[in-house]
Symmetry: C2
Subunit: 433 residues, 2 copies
């Protein structure tokens, strides 16, 4: 058997434990699919004391990151500490030393990935299958399986926590707060769930997918991100009446090479007829539309030590193969040109909208709203107006045809200034099947 590829693991928490456990349990099977075995030769973590749920040689665990990064025998480094720093610095140092890096760190990549790849020496690859939906092998699938395609659309449910909360709100008619509390009780939401519910985490992931698919240097600060905190049971009820589900969708679209791209995360009414709308609970899915392949969809668990370990080890296997047999260039062709981007200004983005107004319940109200919408080139596709007994105001729900964001914002400003408008309008986006 050829000499093993020695790997250094930085970060020995749940995910790191999952990686070591997988290599322990499935070492023979994995080895049978490789020209050389994979060996975790060093582990660095601030915590060297806690018990881990896997077998490992205590002699290889230390707090000595410098020793790991400086060890010439280490060919690849797995970064699993998360966050921006010191993760970025460790990854940069590993790449500069000519080592490959495998990471699950979407936040760091969405901010620094393009620079790290651009500055890495030719023979050092930065792979990140685990950064987007650990249980969906989407990075390599787009890179290789869909290699012949011009990808025009990605629509993704890529945050399990928020999808779990939305599924609960839909099926249980509970409030956001109640659904979040339940998710925390079940371990599906962190004690501080901010990044999962405010759209940051799926924002990081769609930045990576958009960069890869469009070959552009899209960064997190470039994109529009909205979370699910303001959704109410009322909106779920209207969505259901109109045959939609509400999902936190991460979207990246462009017409083709050269056309400006649109990248955003927002709670969205999604037609119940679509495959994507069937994705419930903590599961994730990525729909990719390409020319010539047409619509495709990839579904699996979004997070957790086991699926993430699958992704990390698949990257290690690509590196073990390439180091023995060649083909590393193919892996590093994921690099994107730093600074090159072509994004649609937010006001020019186009979609259908769900608008919910709370207005005075009297004749002529609809005429005021539809006049303002019409003046702003927004046409109405469907509408719900239920009179509410003994109330002076009533909700009006409108689904628009495709409209420009700038026009919608102008119309909303005008409606806010009318006397009939009695509450801040609710604005959600709408996606058909």
């Amino acid at each position: 058997m050829a000499n093993p590829m020695k790997v250094g693991l930085i970060g020995f928490g749940n995910i790191g434990t999952g990686v070591v456990d997988l290599l322990n349990r499935s070492g023979a099977l994995i080895g049978s699919r490789l020209p050389r075995p994979i060996e975790i030769a060093r582990i660095a973590d601030l915590d060297t004391e806690s018990a881990r749920m896997c077998e490992y040689d205590p002699a290889i665990l230390s707090t000595d990151v410098d020793g790991l990064l400086g060890d010439p025998e280490i060919e690849a480094v797995i970064e699993l500490i998360g966050g921006y720093e010191p993760a970025r610095t460790f990854v940069e140092r590993a790449l500069r030393a000519g080592k490959h890096v495998v990471t699950a760190n979407k936040a760091m990549l969405a901010r620094h990935g393009a620079d790290l790849m651009a500055n890495a020496p030719k023979g050092a690859a930065l792979l990140y299958e685990a950064a987007i939906g650990g249980g969906i092998p989407i990075v390599r699938t787009i890179h290789q399986g869909l290699a012949a395609n011009n990808i025009t659309s990605i629509r993704a449910i890529i945050n399990g926590t928020s999808n779990y909360i939305l599924s609960s709100m839909e099926s249980g008619s509970v409030t956001f707060k109640e659904a979040l509390a339940e998710a925390q009780r079940l371990g599906y939401a962190e004690p501080d769930p901010t990044f999962d519910i405010d759209g940051t985490d799926p924002g990081h992931k769609i930045v990576l997918l958009a960069s890869q698919c469009f070959g552009q240097d899209v960064r997190f600060d470039d994109i529009m991100v909205e979370g699910i905190q303001k959704l109410t049971p009322m909106d779920f009820a209207y969505a259901a009446e109109l045959k939609y589900r509400i999902k936190l969708l991460a979207i990246a679209k462009r017409d083709g090479p050269g056309a400006p791209a649109e990248v955003r995360v927002s709670p969205t009414l999604l037609s119940r007829a679509s495959m994507l709308a069937q994705v419930s609970g903590v599961f994730n899915a990525v729909e990719v539309i390409g020319d010539p392949i047409g619509p495709t969809l990839y579904y699996g668990r979004g997070a957790g030590p086991a699926p993430t370990a699958s992704a990390v080890v698949s990257d290690l296997m690509a590196l073990a193969s390439a180091s023995a047999e060649g083909g590393l260039e193919r892996e590093t062709r994921l690099r994107i040109p730093v600074g090159q981007k072509n994004l649609k200004p937010r006001e020019e983005t186009e979609t259908e909208y769900y608008l919910r107004f709370q207005v005075v319940d009297q004749p002529g109200t609809m005429a005021v709203i539809s006049k303002i919408l019409g003046e702003n080139k927004i046409s109405i596709k469907s509408m719900i107006q239920h009179g509410e007994d003994r109330s002076e105001t009533a909700p009006v729900i409108i689904i628009t045809h495709t409209a420009r964001e700038g026009d919608v914002q102008r119309a909303l400003n005008a409606i806010r200034e009318t006397k009939i408008n009695k509450a801040e309008p609710v604005v959600l986006r709408v996606e058909e099947a």
Copy 2:
């Protein structure tokens, strides 16, 4: 730019035209993802006269397969003529000459694939992404994205024609004959639809998937295949009542390396709660469960020139990369050991069953049936018995708990011999979410 990889195309029908058209239309994009361009240098087809829906140089089209196979400049051959012969011979000759082969020919591969790969010289790859659901990049995804997994279960809807017919029967309560006629009128079924409706085509595909995932030499003649011809609107109605859909499922399962595998195609009641049950019309999907990744699902168009061209060209791109940069061994690791297989005998396979009996409508009937089932170690999970007015017989529908095929066949034989049984029992398999 490096010298192009010259490719010979055998078979210039709809799919071949799709491949040439894709390389014409997206040549720049595809080239930007490769170290060397791909050039269709020769095309061989018996028909050199008919107009094709793509631009091509008429000078490269001829009937001369020998010239193509003997041309030392041709590095890769695309085989798109289908059927067993002369396709097999052409592929064998190309491989022997050290050329790579890309094929969409599932029938030929399900019978001869293992031998062809085993006898190919080391530097010649036989790739077949297009053979299983052209619009789902499943072969490369399993090979690379899921490389770290022990795959324990594949359940797939991999025949668009039959899925279209079943979707029609479910939604329109039409007979099999009516649904087939409609599919033919719409071009979703061939004038001779035999292989699509009798399970042969999905059988070919599940043989390829099982061989790949389990590393076994499974051939078409080894597996159990049932078609959809005998399904009646009555079974769809009962399936709906029990919250199932009826799908033609191709299944391959095993507990792990070393355990015997179960590979079959049969019309199956599938829980409506599963993602797979949402796949309707001509779409295909493959659910793969692996350890550690858990359940995953891949969805897309099953057939058609455009999706199939995507798959063929993705294989060509892997070859163009590997020929310039190395890594071909990784592609050829799809080879499986000829003759090595470990399959569960049919009578030992286990699943839940749907049994529909037409029995005399009188007291004691159920006692007879349940006694025979119990004697054969089959326990009842749920049951429907609707008395029918003015009829001397009535249907009894039973969903069993997991039972062995051999026990079920014995029980059926016993029930057939009773006086209460008035028609051939209907037996379908059942899969939960």
